[in-house]
């Protein structure tokens, strides 16, 4: 027994020290760090194909979950060991900090070369997600800094069978119609609406859609600048949307603590007639309930004056390391992978919306419906400025407390405004 232990020790030491010798990096090799577990296989296949075609090996490393990936990127940035290609999964201000730290290459010239040959391929909004416009608040040199790999939109989806059971012939387009549908569904014992309000970004997305619909983009931005208070009647109307829906019993039980994965599961298993979800959900519904009959629509509008906007844009984007000696090779690979055949392959394998417009010709009808909203989409990443994340947190949590009936819209509005004023009073971050 003791001898066995000794042998084991020796064997382990050998294995451990063998692992110590770091392999020298090959010349024709580019390194890519990503977080997309569902796309790893398809990306591997594409990387193999690329190596056959060009002789350049793309070394893919997957780091999951995405929280760990973000930590890894931040730590690697501090130690200056970022790979040739990586992704920044954070808010746009953080993206800006990476650029200002000189860790992200400016791709504008590559995009616009040969009469915008590369840039033309994409959905405009997908490129805008990675663009810093002239006069941006973050103080970044205007330009394009990231390559969209795919796009996504977040919209309302509805279950045709359940709507039919409740005798609802048309998909509600206005808020009144939606409330009528809620009533009809409740009458036959069907839960009207499910989504993952346990994840604050969904609360935020839902609320922002209504804010744009009620007061228009300009006024939302004015609020962010501090010119319009959250106690404004228009913002009160946004808060009241949640109160009304909660009071009418539109939400599934436990919606405020539901994660989006569980919400998707509920919708797939026909436990609710409506949901609010991203285009990635298509893949999930397909695997959990292949016969699910559903459609896509924007959220029912409250006011006719402003169109209902949809959150959408680059689902995942990759950036090139400005310090990498293989910058050109990295750009060449990204150009190749966003070319139509590769994008069509990726989309087919992973049921995601391709960022390349031409590749979206052959996608499934339901994905096509999601894609239609791309042109009128919006996203915090394309807005001229974003709200302070601390105010956003108070805003989202406030909405949760409205839904559980703990607070009224008026109370929440006052509290959010208080925090907004406090944050504005603070010295601005450098």
């Amino acid at each position: 027994m003791k001898r066995l232990g000794a042998w084991l020790c020796c064997a382990l030491l050998v294995v451990i020290t063998c692992g110590c010798a770091q392999p020298k990096k090959a010349v024709n090799e580019i390194e890519l760090w990503h977080w997309m577990t569902d796309r790893q296989d398809a990306l591997e296949a594409l990387a193999r194909k690329y190596e056959q075609e060009t002789g350049i090996r793309v070394k893919l490393s997957l780091f999951a979950p995405s929280d760990s990936y973000i930590q890894k990127i931040i730590a690697a940035a501090q130690a200056n060991v970022l790979p040739d290609i990586y992704g920044i999964l954070d808010k746009k201000t953080i993206f800006a900090s990476f650029i200002k730290a000189g860790l992200v290459a400016d791709l504008t010239s590559a995009f616009e070369a040969d009469g915008n040959a590369w840039g033309k391929r994409f959905f405009v909004k997908a490129v805008d997600n990675n663009r810093f416009a002239v006069g941006n608040m973050d103080g970044v040199k205007p330009g394009i800094y990231g390559v969209p790999l795919d796009v996504s939109t977040v919209q309302m989806i509805y279950n045709r069978n359940l709507l039919k059971k409740a005798g609802i012939a048309t998909v509600p387009a206005t808020f009144e119609e939606f409330l009528a549908a809620v009533k009809a569904l409740k009458r036959v014992g069907i839960v009207p609406f499910v989504t993952g309000f346990g994840e604050t970004w969904i609360v935020d997305c839902f609320a922002s859609n209504y804010a744009f619909n009620i007061m228009g983009e300009a006024k939302v931005m004015a609020t962010f600048r501090g010119e319009v208070p959250y106690t404004d009647p228009d913002w009160m109307a946004v808060f009241t949307v949640f109160q009304t829906l909660a009071k009418k019993g539109a939400f599934i039980e436990g919606i405020v603590t539901k994660g989006n994965k569980y919400a998707e599961q509920d919708f797939a298993l026909e436990r609710a007639a409506f949901s609010f979800d991203g285009s990635w959900g298509v893949n999930i519904y397909k695997s959990m309930n292949p016969v699910l009959d559903y459609g896509v629509a924007p959220l029912p509008a409250l006011k006719a004056a402003n169109p209902m906007r949809v959150w959408g844009g680059a689902g995942s984007s990759l950036v090139v390391n400005a310090l990498s000696p293989n910058k050109d090779k990295a750009v060449a690979f990204l150009q190749w992978i966003t070319d139509t055949p590769q994008q069509a392959y990726l989309s087919e394998q992973t049921n995601n919306l391709p960022s390349n417009r031409e590749a979206s010709v052959g996608i499934s009808p339901i994905l096509g419906d999601f894609a239609k909203a791309m042109e009128q989409s919006t996203h915090p990443r394309v807005w001229i400025l974003n709200e302070d994340p601390i105010v956003v947190e108070a805003f989202d949590k406030g909405i949760q407390s409205i839904i559980i009936g703990e607070k009224t819209p008026a109370q929440v509005a006052v509290e959010v405004q208080k925090i907004k004023l406090r944050q504005m009073g603070k010295v601005k971050r450098p």
């Binding site: 014992g189 346990g198 039980e253 436990g254 405020v256 994340p389 949590k397």
Partner: protein, 307 residues
């Protein structure tokens, strides 16, 4: 003569002490690199404003000042305290009862000790998915989906059916109970290990003296177990105050602020609102409170031993 002998004697002692110190050297070495160094880095960061990337701004004690007035932070401390209290009482009482039961000569002892350790071994993923289903408040075709609500209907208590995780009145208790269920196995094996080292002759002596099982328990078992119980108590506090994976998997980013605990606040400061400096200040304050509490407990137990 004497004046010469004394230093030699001292030298011998100090060399001896040095040899003794060699025992802790590996631990101290690893510890300094991986804990002490990051700790000072963290402390330094708590005096700065920093997004996680980009330049740092020195702000002195501003983060701590802000933390002092942060109501959400202090209520999160209360929530962790509540979870810990349930763990200390309910979980440890269960663990102790099970350990005492398995310390006796009973059948299937091995079987029980194996099974009771399953919850701690289970992956957090399973615990999350499973309890989400058990506590699910939804209904489909008029039937509750969640196992717990389903059972309540089956045994004829439909008016107890409840929205367990989305009601501020019950959410934290549900989390605490699941946490206690997941954690009692640890207390169980540590207490059992402690019980096993108690000399059986003590029990025999007590029996000969005519002590009943209850008296034996209080006068022999418990006093012998005080040090192990102290360790279990400290580890329970540590594990319960720092619980967060379970909370994320049961209520995601939280039921408003009713399910926040210090660690979820720290994580949210770090990744949601990008205030690394503030997160570090939170960690420092949280750590100091934990240290004070555990050392207070330690001195309390020392006093108990002397009494």
């Amino acid at each position: 003569m004497f004046s010469k002998a004394v230093p030699r004697h001292n030298q011998a002692i100090s060399f001896d002490a040095f040899k003794n110190f060699l025992f802790v050297l590996p631990a101290v070495g690893i510890f300094s690199i991986f804990y002490i160094y990051p700790f000072f880095d963290l402390f330094n960061l708590s005096l700065h404003q920093w997004q996680g990337i980009g330049p740092k701004t020195f702000v002195g004690l501003q983060n701590f000042q802000e933390l002092w007035g942060d109501k959400v932070w202090w209520s999160s401390m209360g929530h962790a305290g509540y979870i810990t209290l349930i763990a200390l009482t309910f979980q440890n009482a269960l663990a102790f009862a099970l350990a005492v039961a398995c310390d006796r000569e009973i059948r299937m002892k091995r079987f029980y000790t194996l099974i009771f350790f399953i919850p701690p071994v289970l992956s957090e993923v399973i615990v999350g998915i499973l309890w989400n289903w058990i506590l699910n408040a939804g209904t489909q075709n008029g039937q509750p989906i969640g196992l717990f609500n389903h059972l309540l209907v089956q045994v004829g208590l439909p008016n107890l059916v409840h929205n367990w995780l989305s009601d501020p009145a019950s959410a934290l208790t549900c989390i605490a109970v699941v946490h206690a269920w997941k954690g009692f196995g640890w207390g169980f094996i540590m207490l059992l290990a402690g019980l096993q080292t108690i000399d059986r002759q003590l029990y025999e002596v007590a029996k000969v003296d005519g002590a009943g099982s209850w008296t034996t328990f209080w006068n022999v078992t418990v006093p012998m177990m005080v040090p192990v119980i102290m360790v279990v108590v400290i580890l329970t506090i540590l594990g319960s105050m720092q619980v967060f994976v379970l909370i994320l998997s049961l209520v995601n980013q939280g039921l408003v602020y009713h399910t926040e605990v210090p660690v979820t606040r720290i994580l949210s400061s770090m990744s949601v609102t990008n205030q690394f400096g503030y997160a570090c200040a939170q960690a420092v304050v949280f750590g100091i409170i934990l240290v004070v509490v555990s050392f207070a407990l330690k001195s309390l137990s020392n006093r108990m031993k002397q009494a």
